[in-house]
């Protein structure tokens, strides 16, 4: 409201960085290796600089965010396609703000960690870092959009840079993984497109919009839809988000994609892109279709619990570190969805905090695993052993981030997982009980992986493994620090999240109040809608 387009500028900084990176002239093929190295170094430094500028800018923006102010702040609104009532409308509530914060924190970390990922002579280093920065722009856009059309545009468009990052720069069956990733997401996105259009058409018939179709979120929340319509539209949005999140049984693209992507790209995918799914569940599924949200709650809780247990059990059996981490994410996204659909303020706050913490924890462990894989040239757990003795820093940090993955008290993930489970238990005891088993399974997959890879006798192939270098430490240590800091003192982040959660809750309550003492919870599909 203060007139300065904070969010547009925040999104424009990485885009400008991408352009700057692309404009660095290429050297002719037969240049001296030294020149080429200097040139690629320039590209990387530029990319890192722009991501750091974006980080600083967002931090400054966040300090101006008022936790007692209006729901949506830093709003901007311009008419974009008047024929369809489309606006270029941006604004953030607490939930979106912390997710944007997580995005800009992870970006420089990932760039630093991916320093040599594209150095293979056949690949264009410029393109890789430009794609990353374009992706950052789109991810900021998708969290900041307050127009459903604009959200959809970013939601779909951000697939393309990630598709190229996996397909061009990935490892293993990267083509297969990239196509699978894109097609799964596109299918979900296209179903959502039907729902988006239908929402627009229904909005045009509603008195709340003055019979003018619109995509503005602020107007759409006042459009009352019949329960049947709500259910169909909810499904259209939800399937897209469930594929993105990913929720069992829509998760099958994720292990392939996280295996084939470079560690940096995988962190952006698991850490940020997939959060759009859970973010969308809160922002769109819940706020736009509250009745359908309640109707489908038993089904979704079931899927969430299955995801938690299935992801964790399958993770235990993985032989590849990257796939293992991919499956743990399936489990963790189950927790996030559980917290969202429990529809208690504890659960919602916990789920939002979980999104941020999961981004940092998974980011840290994936990057560390990536460093390890880059040294040994294999992602199979069996190829390691005794790393702790040759690379104590690597192993130590790996342990800390692994403990964060299993939600050890004192680390940030514990707070969010506790909130989610507590929030769920107050209403859905059975679901919460089953979900708690996920914590035990998490301990198994993390500790067993650590034991096999890091402890025991030093495997021959890792005996000469160097420990972490300064650049790698610089990338990971901030994440570890954040994990510990937010575990000890999560209040600043919760203070930003809670007002947004409260306002979401009150908005949904106002249309359909939830009983103070809910009937004993059930996760069975046939339980039907809450009254």
């Amino acid at each position: 409201m203060n007139g300065f387009p904070w969010l547009t500028v925040a999104g424009a900084i990485p885009l400008a960085g991408a352009l700057a990176v692309l404009l660095v002239p290429s050297l002719p093929r037969d240049s001296a290796p030294g020149d080429v190295e200097a040139r690629t170094r320039l590209v990387k430094v530029l990319a890192l600089a722009f991501s750091l500028i974006a980080l600083v800018f967002v931090i400054v923006m966040a300090t101006r965010f008022s936790t007692t102010g209006p729901d949506f702040q830093f709003t901007e609104q311009y008419s974009w396609i008047p024929q369809f009532g489309v606006h270029y409308a941006l604004g953030v509530d607490g939930i979106a703000l912390v997710l944007i914060g997580m995005t800009v924190v992870l970006m420089p970390v990932v760039i630093l960690a991916s320093w040599h990922d594209a150095d293979n002579a056949k690949r264009s280093v410029k393109t890789y870092f430009a794609l990353m920065l374009v992706l950052e722009t789109m991810m900021i856009g998708v969290f900041a959009a307050t127009d459903v059309f604009l959200f959809y545009v970013f939601f779909e468009a951000m697939l393309i840079p990630m598709y190229f990052m996996i397909g061009s720069f990935g490892v293993g069956p990267r083509q297969y993984a990239a196509v699978k990733f894109l097609l799964y997401s596109l299918l979900g996105g296209l179903l959502m497109l039907v729902a988006v259009i239908a929402l627009y058409v229904y909005a045009g018939q509603s008195a709340a919009t003055g019979h003018h179709g619109t995509f503005l979120f602020s107007t759409l929340v006042h459009v009352s839809l019949s329960p049947t319509v709500q259910k169909w539209l909810f499904l259209g949005f939800f399937i897209a988000f469930a594929i993105k999140a990913p929720l069992w049984p829509f998760h099958t693209w994720l292990p392939d994609a996280s295996f084939s992507a470079q560690p940096g790209a995988a962190v952006l995918m698991l850490g940020v892109m997939d959060k759009v799914g859970t973010f969308g569940m809160i922002r769109y599924c819940l706020e736009l279709f509250p009745a359908a949200f309640r109707y489908f709650t038993p089904l979704v809780l079931t899927l969430a619990v299955i995801s938690i247990l299935y992801g964790a059990i399958v993770a235990i059996g993985q032989t590849s570190v990257k796939r293992l981490i991919g499956y743990t994410s399936v489990s963790h996204f189950g927790f996030i969805v559980l917290g969202i659909f429990a529809l208690t303020s504890q659960g919602q706050s916990g789920a939002t905090l979980y999104m941020v913490n999961h981004g940092f924890a998974t980011g840290a462990i994936f990057l560390l695993a990536g460093f390890m894989i880059a040294r040994r040239g294999s992602d199979r757990i069996a190829d390691y052993g005794g790393v702790q003795k040759v690379a104590p820093l690597l192993a130590g940090l790996f342990l800390v981030s692994g403990l964060a993955l299993l939600s050890l008290p004192g680390l940030s993930t514990f707070v969010s997982e506790f909130l989610v489970l507590a929030g769920t238990f107050s209403r859905y005891k059975v679901a919460a009980t089953f979900a708690t088993a996920g914590i035990i399974l998490a301990a198994i997959y993390v500790l067993w992986m650590y034991q096999r890879a890091m402890n025991g006798p030093v495997s021959e192939s890792v005996s000469a493994m160097p420990d972490l270098k300064a650049r790698e430490l610089a990338a990971v240590v901030p994440l570890i620090a954040l994990i510990i800091a937010m575990g000890v003192y999560p209040k600043p982040v919760l203070d930003v999240i809670n007002p947004a959660v409260q306002s979401t809750m009150s908005q949904v309550h106002s249309t359909d109040p939830v009983p103070a003492h809910p009937v004993s919870a059930s996760v069975s599909v046939s339980a039907g809608a809450q009254p």
Partner: protein
């Protein structure tokens, strides 16, 4: 020709009033075509190409400017009139038609840029199409350096027919326009220099199937004449709403005229010619057909179904639903197995015809405006895509087989990148014009109550996305083939075509507002009756 004079004709036949200024765009193009024929006869061979280029580009540009002038002229649209029926009720001059004609002229201009490009070491067109491949005659023609400069007047005739086709206000004029646009295209299809037999086969197939469909169309006209006693679209509409004639004749007439029109847009089950013809024809001609002919045929389809059968939506809608579903699904599914890039785009064009049909079915203002918009953006992307295909060449000519495109992204990132942009636009990815178009037609369809069609449409889009993405995988993620095709540096002509296509694809994806408002404005009053 429409006012079939009654038996008791007066002794003196009044001279028909012809609104020359309103018909000028078509007259200019036809006049230029006739002049082109004279050029063939009288101008020395070495000058012909230059003169043809001058005439062709000049007439297309002049026709476009004149179309804009008519669209802006207050007299035709005074007092909220939807338009004017010129030439004794034969030709409608209304806003949708002018939009379509403007689109056709722009697309034709860009396509002619490709046709006129003579910079390749091997021309797209045969020196003498009648000389059998590999024969001494052919060698003699090659040595003499002969080229078919007739392609320019033929193209102009085809474009003239395309301009008249959607503007025809009675079915006989429409039939004449159909023939005028089709016959030159049959010839142009057979002129490919490379893979001559394939080209001849394509021309023959196109001609035979086209002749069949024309016959059906004509038969349908006869039925409708039997039903209403008139070939004028408005008279058929009023006879249908008065419900005076025989229903059998009416429905048979709708089915047969509809068949003729659906054949031209390549809707399933009348799509069989499309892949063969698109593959066999010289690529610049394919570009012309894939853009201009489709636009023109959709224009005619829209006019016939909105004006003549506008009150019968309940009767034709179920049949068109079936056709639309088949078109979207079959186009997308069969495309998956294609290995030739031109055939791939042919099937993709079939699927896209299905997407537009979802909006046509709604029979509403939104349906019309979104179809118009889709046609414009799709045409521009298509011309650009075919322009890129002319650039990727093996020693003998274009490298159409997809396997040859492997690793193109590493050899020439710019060309591959632009082609990827076009493919993403076809797939309907946001921030490209394809998304805006798709959004527009699906929005009209849902507002028109065709939500199931849209759901099938998005599923078909997802299937279609698979093969677009496959080409991108091939270009960017695969390693280059040994002695792969060379990407020639585009001449000014082809370069302009590619640039126009790419610019339109991006700009209309980000700021579609001007063209959308033009299309909306064109559609608000539907067609003149």
């Amino acid at each position: 020709m429409t006012s079939l004079l009654a038996a008791a004709a007066p002794a003196t036949i009044p001279a028909p009033s012809i609104e020359y200024s309103q018909l000028a765009p078509m007259l200019v193009v036809f006049g230029a075509a006739v002049a082109g024929v004279l050029v063939e006869a009288f101008v020395p061979r070495d000058l012909r190409r230059s003169v043809h280029l001058l005439i062709t580009f000049g007439s297309l540009a002049a026709a476009f400017v004149w179309t804009c002038v008519i669209a802006a002229s207050p007299s035709i649209f005074a007092n909220g009139s939807p338009g004017h029926v010129a030439a004794m009720g034969a030709v409608a001059v209304d806003r949708p038609t002018l939009f379509i004609q403007g689109t056709i002229l722009v697309l034709a201009f860009v396509s002619v840029l490709l046709i006129a490009d003579s910079s390749h070491d091997v021309s797209e067109f045969a020196g003498q199409a009648a000389a059998p491949p590999g024969s001494p005659e052919e060698r003699a023609v090659l040595l003499a350096g002969l080229v078919h400069t007739e392609i320019y007047p033929l193209t102009l005739f085809a474009v003239g027919g395309m301009l008249l086709f959607p503007a025809s206000n009675d079915l006989l004029t429409m039939f004449v326009a159909l023939e005028v646009l089709s016959l030159p295209l049959y010839l142009l299809c057979g002129l490919a220099r490379r893979r001559r037999l394939l080209s001849h086969e394509a021309a023959m197939k196109y001609f035979l199937l086209g002749a069949f469909s024309s016959t059906f169309f004509l038969f349908g006209i006869a039925m409708l004449y039997g039903f209403s006693g008139s070939v004028s679209l408005a008279a058929i509409a009023s006879a249908a709403s008065a419900n005076t004639g025989s229903d059998t004749l009416l429905f048979a007439g709708i089915a047969l005229t509809g068949l003729g029109l659906l054949f031209k847009i390549g809707a399933v089950p009348f799509q069989n010619w499309k892949p063969d013809v698109y593959q066999g024809a010289p690529t610049p001609v394919t570009a012309l057909m894939a853009s201009c002919t489709v636009v023109s045929a959709f224009g005619a389809l829209l006019r016939v179904f909105y004006v003549a059968f506008g009150n019968l939506t309940w009767d034709w809608r179920p049949a068109l639903w079936v056709v639309t579903v088949l078109t979207m699904v079959a186009g997308a599914v069969i495309a998956i197995t294609q290995t030739d890039v031109k055939r791939l785009l042919a099937y993709s064009s079939i699927a896209h015809a299905g997407f537009i049909l979802t909006a046509v079915i709604s029979a509403s203002v939104a349906g019309l405006s979104s179809s118009l918009f889709y046609l414009a953006v799709y045409g521009l992307t298509t011309v650009g895509a075919f322009a890129v295909i002319t650039l990727v060449r093996d020693p003998g000519g274009e490298a159409d087989h997809l396997s040859r495109w492997a690793g193109l992204g590493k050899r020439s990132p710019l060309v591959a990148g632009i082609f990827a942009l076009f493919l993403l636009a076809f797939a309907g990815i946001p921030l490209t014009s394809g998304f805006t178009g798709k959004f527009a037609v699906f929005q009209a369809a849902i507002a028109g109550g065709a939500t199931p069609l849209v759901i099938i449409g998005v599923l078909a889009s997802a299937i279609a996305a698979f093969f677009y993405v496959r080409v991108i995988v091939l270009m960017f993620f695969s390693d280059p083939v040994e002695d792969g095709p060379e990407v020639v540096v585009p001449s000014v002509f082809t370069g302009t075509a590619v640039a126009v296509g790419a610019a339109a694809t991006i700009i209309l994806g980000i700021v579609p507002e001007p063209v959308l408002s033009l299309a909306n404005h064109a559609a608000t009053q539907l067609f003149v009756r």
